[in-house]
């Protein structure tokens, strides 16, 4: 559905995206995660055909974006980062305008405008001018505009920026519903924890993709396996755990705490508990540790060696 191969985009001497390769299957939701200026918007612009890559190939819906046919464009939804709809049109007029841009006939338009406004909870605000809507409402209006023509592939640039947690959850719920309806979503975000909502995650740092995969796979990739966190009474002996079969590495962030990277946490955890108890330490808890995506992101960035480079343009 969406495919990039060795894509690079330069603005003069600045490399905005470097050698990016990515594949997004139909009916899946990929989250492109990266800090501000990492090249996310550049990537979206290349995928929507508004920016030509310097090198590499891109295919969306089987076509190169810069050569999209009209029929193909009608299958694409785009929600830009900034709200730039018409402030002097009402919410429903803005959505109807976007619907007409994508060739939706008036009899269908009327129904769809009503549906998408309901979907983004703007039915009551449908007759208010866009300029009079709150920031969150404007984001939802932009989303309604991107969805009104029922596209197959939806590119959404920073949809949750500036939204409160409840609204953020609503937006992601809507994305999940769309994915379940068979739509393909390409969502960029700065919020690393948003990765948990996606089927696939691509981490973009300084224009380079440092990791691509399913959220759980990335967690494993970041730390080299599954994590077990052990708390003991008194002091734990790291050397006791190091020798256990299935243990890859051990970190001791505190005197009474061990963080153990294993091949399989379910198999190794009982061995660790036994070994520590045998050594005289009293084990208080042994839990499988679920690292946050912030931890995963930091780990992956540090491992990629991208942490200290100059910021690139987006």
């Amino acid at each position: 559905m969406v495919q990039l191969e060795d894509v690079t985009c330069r603005f003069g001497d600045v490399v905005a995206v470097k050698d990016a390769s990515l594949w997004v299957g139909a009916g899946t939701m990929l989250g492109l995660i990266g800090p501000s200026g990492s090249g996310k918007t550049t990537m979206v612009r290349m995928l929507t055909g508004t920016l030509r890559p310097t090198s590499g190939t891109i295919h969306v819906l089987g076509e190169q974006p810069v050569r999209f046919r009209r029929e193909t464009r009608e299958r694409i939804g785009y929600m830009p980062q900034q709200f730039h709809l018409y402030p002097h049109l009402t919410a429903s007029e803005n959505v109807a305008f976007c619907a007409s841009l994508f060739g939706l006939f008036w009899w269908r338009r009327h129904t769809r405008v009503k549906q998408v406004l309901e979907l983004v909870q703007l039915t009551e605000a449908r007759n208010r001018l866009a300029k009079d809507l709150s920031g969150g409402q404007q984001r939802r209006l932009s989303l309604a505009c991107a969805l009104v023509h029922e596209p197959d592939v939806i590119f959404v640039d920073e949809p949750t920026a500036g939204l409160d947690p409840i609204l953020r959850q609503t937006v992601w719920d809507e994305f999940r519903r769309l994915r379940e309806a068979g739509k393909t979503l390409f969502v960029t975000t700065q919020t690393v924890s948003d990765a948990q909502f996606c089927d696939g995650v691509a981490m973009l740092v300084h224009g380079s993709l440092v990791a691509v995969g399913a959220p759980d796979a990335l967690k494993r990739e970041a730390f080299g396996g599954e994590l077990i966190e052990v708390r003991v009474e008194g002091s734990a002996q790291k050397s006791v755990v190091d020798r256990i079969e299935g243990v890859r590495s051990v970190q001791q962030p505190a005197k009474d705490r061990l963080l153990i990277v294993t091949d399989d946490a379910g198999v190794v955890a009982p061995r660790v508990t036994d070994a520590l108890n045998t050594s005289g330490a009293r084990v208080l808890t042994t839990d499988k540790h679920e690292p946050s995506f912030d931890e995963v992101f930091i780990e992956l960035v540090e491992r990629s060696g991208m942490g200290e480079r100059e910021e690139v343009a987006s």
Partner: protein, 393 residues
Amino acid sequence: MTGIAKSLTRMFGLISKELRDLLRRPGAIISLILGPLAIMAIFGIGYDGERRPFDTVVVLPANSTLPHDAKTYNDLRAPGLNVIDVTEDRQSAEDKLGRGQARFIVIVPGDVEDKFRAGQQATVTTEFNEVDPIEDNVARVSTQMLLEELNRRVIEGAASEGMRVANVAQPIPANVIAQPLKYDIKNRAPIEPSMVAFFAPAVFALVLQHLGITLTALSLVRDKLSGVMDLFRVSPVRSWEMLLAKYVAYGALSIAVAFAVAFLMTNVLHVPLLGSPERLATAVGLLTFASLGFGLLISIVADSERQAVQLAMLVLLFSMFFSGFVLPIAEFRPIVQPLSFILPVTYGINLFQDIMLRGTRGDPSMLLGLAALGVVLYLIDAIGLRGIMRRAR
């Protein structure tokens, strides 16, 4: 068939958006509709076409046999002068000129008749203080006409004295000797010339051009600056659909305003419309078409709203000087004259004056020229907008 229907759907959406966006801004509506009417009304009320005469002081020596009362001079056929005082004191007259209490002084020597009898010319001096070249010309013409009148008086007096001495059987009237020829002026124009009638079509054309240019000059700039152009680039909309939609939306609005202004102009200001209304409507349509094209060209070139407004004002200024609005195009050097014809208003003024004031169908070359200008501007705009839409691809 579906493709055409979708294309029409897209264009209808764009037209409807443009109109709604515009009509939701009351300030824009006021300036669009009431603005031109206010200009026409102020022009009609404030300008009566009558030139204010120069307040004049006549300096005359006490021993002069010429009249010493202001009324006599005002009764002379010397238009443009309003004699407010006749004095012997030249210095006080010059002081009045310096203070702006008088704009014109006439200094008549005391020995006019003596010199005439002696076969010599006396010199009458006029002084004024005008920096405006038109006023300077008027003052010079007024001087000549006053002098003619004074000459006539002097000759008439001398001739009447001569007739009495000659005692001829059938004496020739002195005024015939003084002025053997008289003039009779005929103006074959179909209307009584008036400043309002003459300038109203030109103002109408200028207002229409300015309206069309300012409407479109900002529309595309707003789209470019707001980033909505990215949405257009992603969507299936084509540049020609966008362009056509802007022409239709703003064209409809401009023509509606034009008809309202034309109605008030002919019914309230009583500006004559001697030609056919259909012909006027054709000229209005072509002028609007070309003006919208000019505005869109500005919109394509401009990088900001401020720059678009500046360029629109420059076109207005250029139009004031070079369209024939104030100064006839024929008075410019031939090398500069073609510049006038890149302005839609040049054709508009010519056509409107011909159709409204002379009752003709309008010069066909002007109609064709205006249509050609509109088409050329449309093509340039189409290429420019296509470039903007594709620039990033």
